[in-house]
């Protein structure tokens, strides 16, 4: 094994979750603003409450493997967030954690992230184009997988995924929502960026940041 290649290990899993918590705290107001336009304005505060609880849970958890860190993150989100984002992100992290070997290389991480996407789609029954989390998550997984398959290291794959997730989130602006509360607005949901896709982009950017070291 090439020891210059960073692996996804317990320390990175924890750093990722803590970076998400920090990003959610920093971007809480923006998520809430996006959600006020086409939802009920609580996406930022809900995720903030959830990841605050996750940080407390992680403090009680150590030492644990990377998979356990992420499944515990998921369980805590399910128990503390409510709404749609709690079960969706909760199931995603539980699936990622369950699929992740410790330590994991880029290809393993790609498949674990894909398992998370499958969990989101199974629970939320959303397809790409519905203006949801899936619209950022799907291109992120594709980019991560393609970059990893081309032999790139973890930081590079994670950066590609973050770029793709952010692009995916921006691409939700012209879409009409077909799932979730935004769908009640019909055509009035057009012209707004989806808050769920936006928070998904935050998750992937956080992963890219911690993978870059």
């Amino acid at each position: 094994m090439d020891f210059d290649t960073p692996l996804f290990d317990t320390a990175l899993a924890e750093a990722w979750v803590r970076a998400i918590a920090a990003a959610v705290e920093k971007e809480q107001a923006r998520l809430t603003e996006l959600d006020s336009a086409i939802g009920d304005g609580d996406h930022g505060s809900n995720l903030h409450r959830g990841f605050s609880a996750v940080l407390a849970a992680l403090d009680d958890l150590r030492p644990a493997g990377s998979g356990t860190v992420l499944t515990k993150t998921g369980s805590t989100l399910i128990s503390k967030v409510g709404g749609a984002s709690g079960p969706l992100y909760g199931k995603a992290f539980r699936a990622i954690g369950a699929a992740l070997p410790d330590p994991a290389g880029p290809a393993d991480v790609a498949e674990a992230l894909a398992a998370g996407l499958d969990a989101v789609r199974a629970l939320g029954k959303a397809a790409p184009g519905d203006k949801t989390i899936v619209d950022a998550y799907t291109p992120a997984v594709a980019a991560f997988r393609a970059t990893a398959a081309a032999g790139a290291a973890l930081p590079e794959a994670a950066a590609a995924a973050a770029d793709a997730a952010e692009q995916g989130a921006r691409d939700t602006v012209p879409l009409q929502a077909r799932k979730g509360r935004a769908s009640y607005l019909g055509e009035r949901s057009i012209g707004h960026q989806d808050p769920g896709a936006t928070s998904t982009a935050l998750l992937f950017r956080a992963l890219a940041d911690v993978a870059a070291g």
Binding site: G41, G86, R181, S183
Partner: protein
């Protein structure tokens, strides 16, 4: 924002403490956020449990008591409760005859109750879920999350609560809930937006002379914006919109719920109801029972919703059955 609160962060726990202080006939489990009846039913019965985001009071906690709910699970404001709450509620009130979850059709509520039902099933509980989706403002198609659950929730909870109280079996109670939901349609108009305490400002800007038509109960805008008009015209539009869904025909009897969204005085709700009743009479619909007041609110949103449930002898009898809850009492 001018609100009678301590802090935006403590709104739910402070309100639950108030419910506990005001209602010794209820038990409020503050850590688990579950409201149950203080007295256990004398004989085993189907446990009827509901829950949803807070901000819709008296829904659901105000409907806990003999003849209606066994337990309610309040979530954060406008945010569905978490599965742990429903599981705690189910374990607290289940008496061997099974559990019915009454779930309003919102993505988050559906998911959290689904996870709760899985957890309850793992614990050996028999669970049925009744989904309420009565709001005709949302087109029921593959292009939306489906119709929202609104005022019909009160009718479902009242009627299946009455049936469960008599010892009816689980499948019968759940089937009645589905039947009442299928017989119900609702539509709402907002005069002002709601202010979520954590957000600190109204969910949308609405000029003084404009209204949102086809709103939900979570502070989101409606289907379209119109100029404010006299109550007579708004009531007629609401009635006509519901009747356009064709679940009623001239000659039918209905139970009518004229519901305030939180910030409209009862005086105005009665004005609206009078106009609704007149319009229904014009359209050949007979109101067999009516209920006017604030039952499914949206914090401090001004406006009203109308729910029309096609009535029959069984529904009327269950609607009239005794109930003793903070928000609905009938001897």
């Amino acid at each position: 924002m001018k609100k009678l609160i301590n802090t935006p962060e403590s709104v739910l726990e402070d309100a639950l403490a108030g419910v506990a202080a005001a209602h010794p006939e209820l038990t409020v489990d503050l850590p688990n956020r579950v409201i149950t009846r203080a007295a256990r039913p004398a004989a085993p019965k189907v446990a009827v449990i509901s829950g949803g985001g807070s901000g819709h009071e008296p829904l659901h906690g105000g409907f806990v008591g003999p003849g209606m709910l066994d337990a309610a699970c309040p979530g954060e404001i406008f945010t569905s409760p978490v599965p742990d709450q429903m599981l705690a509620a189910a374990k607290a009130v289940e008496s061997g005859a099974g559990v019915v979850f009454v779930v309003k059709n919102y993505t988050g509520d559906v998911m959290n109750f689904e996870l709760a039902a899985e957890l309850a099933a793992e614990e050996g509980l028999a669970v049925r879920t009744v989904l309420v989706d009565d709001d005709v403002a949302v087109e029921d198609s593959t292009w939306t999350a489906g119709r929202r659950g609104t005022g019909a929730t009160v009718l479902v909870e009242k009627t299946i609560g009455a049936l469960a109280e008599r010892g009816a079996p689980l499948d019968e109670v759940a089937a009645l809930g589905e039947r009442v939901n299928a017989a119900s349609r609702s539509f709402a108009i907002a005069l002002t937006a709601a202010t979520v305490p954590a957000a600190g400002k109204p969910g949308f800007d609405l000029p003084e002379d404009e209204i949102e038509v086809g709103v939900g109960i979570h502070g989101e805008p409606g289907r379209r914006r119109e100029k404010l008009r006299p109550a007579r015209e708004l009531a007629a539009e609401v009635v006509d919109t519901i009747l356009a869904d064709r679940h009623l025909a001239p000659g039918d009897e209905v139970i009518a719920l004229l519901n305030g969204l939180g910030a409209t005085p009862l005086l105005e709700l009665y004005i609206a109801y009078g106009e609704v009743a007149a319009r229904l009479a014009e359209r050949g619909i007979t109101v067999a029972r009516s209920l006017v007041g604030n039952y499914v609110t949206s914090l401090d949103m001004a406006g009203f919703s109308l729910t029309l449930t096609k009535a029959d002898a069984q529904l009327l009898e269950l609607w009239d059955a005794p109930v003793d809850t903070p928000a609905l009492k009938r001897a």
